[in-house]
């Protein structure tokens, strides 16, 4: 909302307050100011002048030499190239050393050898348009009204009423009443403790009876609580007067003609959108406020065609819709220069309905933007009266006697008990009851004893808390004293699982991985990039109905593409040796159509290139497992389409629960990211890791007796995994077995093609004695026996 301070002055006098101080205080009391602009500030030393004589320039066929009276002792000589001038013309003159909009300075000089001491101005040079100055032409000197002759020498800003300050407010949606000069005047008066003067409009009627012109029927009273109208006849369409055009211009509204300007003027002044339509275009003499028929066609006055539905409200005559209620008038009843009789409509419409209509049709107008916030039903009448008062004032037509006022939706005023003590306690302040009463009165609340009646334009005020806000915003938010929370103590803490994650972050940073942060939504094409088959269940994602673009259109079910994107991007930036991790959320649909939220699961992804191999990755996984004190097993998975079939494992818990997947990314998938180097990634499910974490450790005595060890080498098939051998050793039932270590793997001619020789060391120990050679041998023998029975492998001779 752009507020003209000249306009504001009609209702409250704050002329002694500088713009900055005005803006600061208004912001402090709840009407947030975005900024202010001093209009015509950049125009200086430009005055009204009159051309006394015109002479031809000898060295030019288009330049003319003017002698111009600028109200000084002697006329000034100005050379101009303009052709629309004549002797006696009253024109704006930029004198020597004057300033014009856009940082232009006019200096005296010579034009083809002839001295020129200023410039005659066009409206463009003054920053104006033909909308602002309808009598002017775009391309030529602004020839002003001859009656301004008596103002020769006067500052052009004064004569054209250009001087004003405009304050830009950001009005919150709960305060549609402040989308008006009067609303802001009320706030101003309360903020600066000044008198507020809102005159009641007075209309002069010419007789006749509106009933002879118009009947109004409301078919949808829940959508149209009130409809007020007046008729103006013998209308003369012409430009509105300068003062009105300049106020509209300051408010950012383009002047059109007197009738349209009046509707805009009243909307800005009262906050009540008005509509004017040509009475001649109405079929029959009844206006019906009804919902549109399904598929009804409507052409709005901006010449666009719309197809309506039954949720939309229209203003209709006997045959057709003449306006889309609260949004825009129809082209079929638009005010034209031939309009003779005008119907002024000042109505109230249900906000939510206007909002739906304007969104559906993509029509946001000044009018709909106000209606959708819910306007004051009581305001329609005063606004209509003001419009007709302006018709009188401008001589724009004759107001027919009588008013149509159909008001099916009158509401009772809200009444709230004033509880000063409770308000003070709630806010933590100590304001006097008198201050509270005075403040509320200034804001147009009425008090009767302890009962406060809320003004009709303040639908947002419903209870004690709202009254408290009214009090405190005038009292000053910054006057509230800061206090500590008293009352019950609470334990500030992270939950066990949150702490588990904090520790995990530390661990991952400690092993040299950088944390990344990726978007939760991805493109469905990302599933192709990680080579998921077309029928993969993982492709079933939560789909955003109104995405910004395909790249952010579905919620990821796996975080693998996210880390791959980042790895690829870093490779593209030529970053070497990159290792990353993220604790990412994935979103797996459960029953979205059935109204169920997806399963949101955190997953740890870690990945790298250029800094290790499969076993580096496995070390990292082991480090994570050790952190959680879980025992995990790695089981080869050659079926996972995203991973190298020979270098991928599922990470399983002892009971077979899948904790995650790790391995080298399939070269085909890596190639989809333009990566030709080996890329390694692990995905670990955080809730599973957390739920299966080991108990807090407990101290066990350090060994008192030395261990014995035995090394064995076996030759076995290449395909036999060392994990299988280890498992047999561990499960040999030898209580003394403390540890098994893989010492060496040898492949070569001695062991033969397709074979390998693996060397293990077993560590044997007893807690209560040093083992004898016989005991150690016996244990070793038992293990070896198992090896032979279960795996068919024997010690290498």
């Amino acid at each position: 909302m752009n507020l003209s301070r000249n306009w504001l002055a009609d209702f409250v006098d704050v002329s002694d307050i500088e713009n900055k101080a005005y803006c600061d205080r208004m912001t402090d009391t709840g009407s947030k100011v975005e900024g202010f602009e001093v209009l015509a500030e950049d125009i200086e030393n430009v005055v009204v002048g009159r051309i006394l004589a015109i002479a031809k320039h000898e060295n030019s066929d288009h330049l003319q030499i003017c002698s111009v009276d600028v109200g000084e002792d002697a006329p000034v000589q100005i050379v101009t190239g303009a052709q629309n001038i004549f002797e006696g013309a009253v024109i704006p003159v930029a004198k020597a050393y004057s300033k014009l909009p856009g940082g232009v300075t006019i200096k005296p000089g010579k034009l083809r050898g002839v001295e020129s001491n200023g410039m005659l101005c066009s409206i463009g040079e003054l920053g104006l348009t033909t909308h602002d100055m309808p009598t002017a032409i775009e391309d030529g000197i602004f020839i002003m009204d001859a009656s301004l002759e008596e103002k020769i020498g006067t500052d052009i800003r004064e004569v054209l009423m250009l001087s004003d300050s405009v304050v830009e407010f950001e009005i919150t949606p709960n305060r549609p009443d402040c989308l008006s000069v009067i609303g802001l005047a009320r706030e101003t008066a309360a903020s600066f403790d000044r008198a507020l003067n809102i005159p009641t409009p007075k209309v002069t009627e010419v007789g006749g009876d509106i009933a002879d012109y118009l009947k109004v029927k409301i078919d949808a009273p829940e959508l149209c609580p009130r409809y007020t109208a007046r008729v103006v006849k013998n209308v003369k369409i012409e430009p509105s007067p300068l003062w009105m055009r300049m106020r509209l211009r300051a408010a950012g509204v383009r002047p059109i003609n007197n009738i349209v300007d009046i509707t805009n003027y009243v909307m800005l002044e009262y906050g009540q959108p008005m509509h004017a339509f040509d009475y001649a275009c109405i079929d029959g003499s009844a206006i019906t406020v009804r919902t549109a028929a399904e598929g009804e066609n409507f052409k709005s006055l901006d010449d666009k065609d719309h197809v309506l539905d039954t949720g939309m409200l229209v203003i209709a005559d006997d045959k057709k819709a003449v306006a889309l209620a609260g949004v825009m008038g129809g082209a079929n009843s638009e005010i034209t220069e031939n309009t003779k009789t005008v119907v002024f409509e000042s109505a109230n419409f249900y906000g939510a309905s206007i909002r739906i209509t304007s969104r559906k049709l993509g029509m946001r107008t000044e009018s709909s933007g106000r209606f959708e916030k819910g306007l004051d039903r009581e305001n329609t009448f005063a606004a209509l009266e003001r419009a007709c008062e302006l018709v009188n004032l401008l001589g724009a037509g004759e107001v027919v006697s009588g008013i149509v006022d159909v008001y099916p939706g009158k509401k009772d005023a809200t009444v709230i008990k004033l509880e000063p003590e409770r308000i003070n306690k709630f806010l933590g302040i100590n304001a006097s009851e008198q201050f509270m009463r005075d403040t509320l009165k200034k804001l147009d609340f009425t008090l009767d004893g302890d009962m406060v009646t809320v003004p009709s334009f303040r639908e947002d005020v419903e209870g004690m808390q709202d009254l408290a806000e009214e009090v405190v915003r005038i009292y000053g938010y910054n006057e509230i004293e800061s206090t500590g929370i008293s009352g019950n103590m609470t334990q500030g803490q992270r939950s066990v699982s949150q702490n588990f994650e904090v520790g995990l972050h530390k661990l991952l940073l400690g092993i040299g991985l950088d944390e990344i942060c990726t978007f939760s939504f991805i493109s469905p094409k990302y599933y192709d990039k990680i080579c998921l088959p077309a029928d993969s269940a993982k492709r079933n994602s939560i789909v955003i109905k109104n995405p910004l673009g395909e790249d952010t259109s579905v919620m990821r079910t796996t975080a693998l593409p996210s880390i791959m994107e980042v790895l690829a991007r870093n490779a593209n930036f030529s970053n070497e040796k990159v290792g990353l991790y993220e604790i990412a959320t994935t979103y797996t649909p459960t029953d979205t159509e059935g109204g169920k939220l997806p399963d949101e699961r955190k997953v740890l992804t870690l990945g790298f290139y250029g800094r290790g191999d499969f076993f580096t990755l496995k070390q990292m996984c082991e480090t994570v497992a050790k952190y959680a004190r879980v025992k995990v097993e790695y089981v080869r998975d050659s079926e996972n389409p995203s991973y190298h079939p020979g270098r991928c494992a599922n990470i399983l818990l002892a009971d077979g629960t899948r904790l995650g997947t790790m391995g080298q990314i399939h070269p085909a998938a890596a190639a989809n990211y333009d990566m030709d180097m080996p890329v390694f990634v692990a995905e670990i499910d955080i809730p599973t890791l957390f739920a299966n974490r080991g108990a807090e450790p407990e101290y066990k005595h350090l060994p008192k007796f030395p261990a014995s060890s035995r090394d064995f080498s076996f030759v076995c098939d290449e395909a036999l995994e060392v994990g299988a051998i280890e498992k047999v050793m561990y499960h040999s039932g030898v209580k003394l077995l403390e540890d098994v270590k893989l010492v060496d793997i040898y492949r070569g001619v001695q062991v033969g093609e397709g074979k390998k020789s693996v060397t293990f060391r077993i560590i044997l120990r007893s807690a209560d004695r040093t083992l004898t050679v016989e005991e150690a041998d016996k244990a070793a023998k038992k293990i070896l026996g198992n090896m032979e029975r279960q795996l068919g492998i024997t010690i290498r001779q």
Binding site: T27, D28, G30, K32, T172, P173, R175, I356, F426, L427, G428, I429, M464, Q465, D466, A468, E469, V472, R473, Y477, N478, I480, E481, S482, T483, G484, I485, G487, M489, T490, G492, Q493, R494, H505, L509, G512, D514, E515, I516, C517, T518, F519, S520, F521, I542, I544, K545, N546, L548, T552, N570, N575, G579, L580, Y581, T592, G595, L597, P598, E600
Partner: protein
């Protein structure tokens, strides 16, 4: 014999004085079983009883003298050898090295953790909730019914008519109040989504931190006190805060909260665009409709809530001029700030 001893002493001393003297050979030559001094001692039997102790003592003195000399020589040889060894082991301390690889925390996590720790210190618990959320929690229960104009200010991503991507962390207020009864002091950090195209200052996904306190007798002064403490912890002890009236549907009264610029301290600079203040928080007293909807009687209890954008703080803190850097995850960027 005395002469012989003197001679041995002198000879041994001379030999030991030579460079590269073979200390063991000299020891054997003079002090060994067949050594010269031993030979002299063997001839002691021929001396008179008077001479014997005198020569004996002298012989012992010579032995001690040579032994000492050898020890000294040994020690100095060892220290010379050590010195040489150390010299040989000299390294060029100016040789460049890479630091041991330690990962860098993402700046968003870093600041989020910092914020969390401040509020934990003030008695707050951390709660987390779904990002794919019901319209009810994101809007309706927060006093934003359908077709409320406040919905316009946050363009929301929808999944179905009543499931959406949460546009704020405020739904956690409702979930928390449904699950727990006062006294409540919670913060809820997390991801939120709004339909804003990506540019230097906008992102369709960003992070917020929401706070909520509900108890008997909670005042707006408590809200101010809490945020003031927070601001001082986060931005330094000299930080001031400023409340400006605002409107949020789920708080009443509502405020926008500025902190004094942490670069210029309020004088006005390029960071705060000459204002001296930086808007950082939205806050207010929990709206009675919101409390009521969660089964908390606003006649008995009151509360305050606040929310802040983590990106905004991160960008101010590290002087980052383009939000996209935070999601690009270039390790050169991450390592600078980690």
């Amino acid at each position: 014999m005395k002469e012989m001893l003197e001679k041995i002493k002198a000879e041994a001393a001379a030999k030991l004085g030579e460079e590269n003297a073979d200390l063991e050979a000299i020891r054997v030559q003079y002090l060994g079983k067949k050594g010269e001094l031993t030979q002299v001692l063997r001839g002691m039997g021929q001396l008179s009883a008077e001479e014997r102790p005198v020569v004996g003592q002298m012989a012992n003195e010579v032995r001690a003298y040579i032994e000492n000399l050898i020890e000294e020589k040994k020690a100095s040889a060892a220290s010379a050898a050590m010195a040489k060894k150390l010299l040989d082991e000299t390294v060029d301390v100016t040789m460049p090295v890479e630091p041991i690889t330690v990962g860098s925390r993402h700046p968003l996590s870093q600041v989020q953790t910092e914020l969390e720790d401040i509020f934990i210190g003030l008695g707050f618990e951390i709660v987390e909730g779904p990002e794919v959320e019901y319209d009810y929690y994101n809007f309706q229960a927060l006093n934003i019914p359908e077709n409320h104009p406040a919905r316009d200010t946050q363009d929301t991503f929808y999944i179905t008519d009543n499931i959406l991507l949460r546009s704020q962390t405020s739904p956690m207020q409702i979930r928390a109040m449904e699950q727990k009864k006062p006294p409540l002091r919670i913060i809820s950090p997390g991801r939120v989504y709004r339909s804003d195209a990506v540019d230097a200052t906008h992102s369709p996904l960003f992070h917020q931190l929401e706070g909520l306190v509900v108890d008997k007798g909670i005042t707006m002064g408590d809200l101010k006190g809490t945020l003031e403490l927070f601001a001082k912890k986060m931005f330094g002890d000299d930080t001031k805060i400023r409340f400006r009236p605002h409107h949020f549907p789920f708080t009443e009264p509502s405020a926008e909260v500025d902190v004094s610029c942490f670069v210029c301290g309020g004088k006005g600079c390029s960071l705060c665009k000459g204002e001296g203040w930086i808007e950082i928080l939205g806050a207010g007293m929990v709206h009675p409709n919101v409390l009521r909807g969660c089964g908390i009687d606003p006649e008995v209890y009151s509360g305050f809530a606040f929310g802040l954008g983590i990106e905004r703080i991160v960008m101010r803190k590290y002087n980052i001029d383009d939000m996209r850097l935070l999601y690009e995850n270039d390790v050169r960027f991450l390592k600078q700030l980690g």
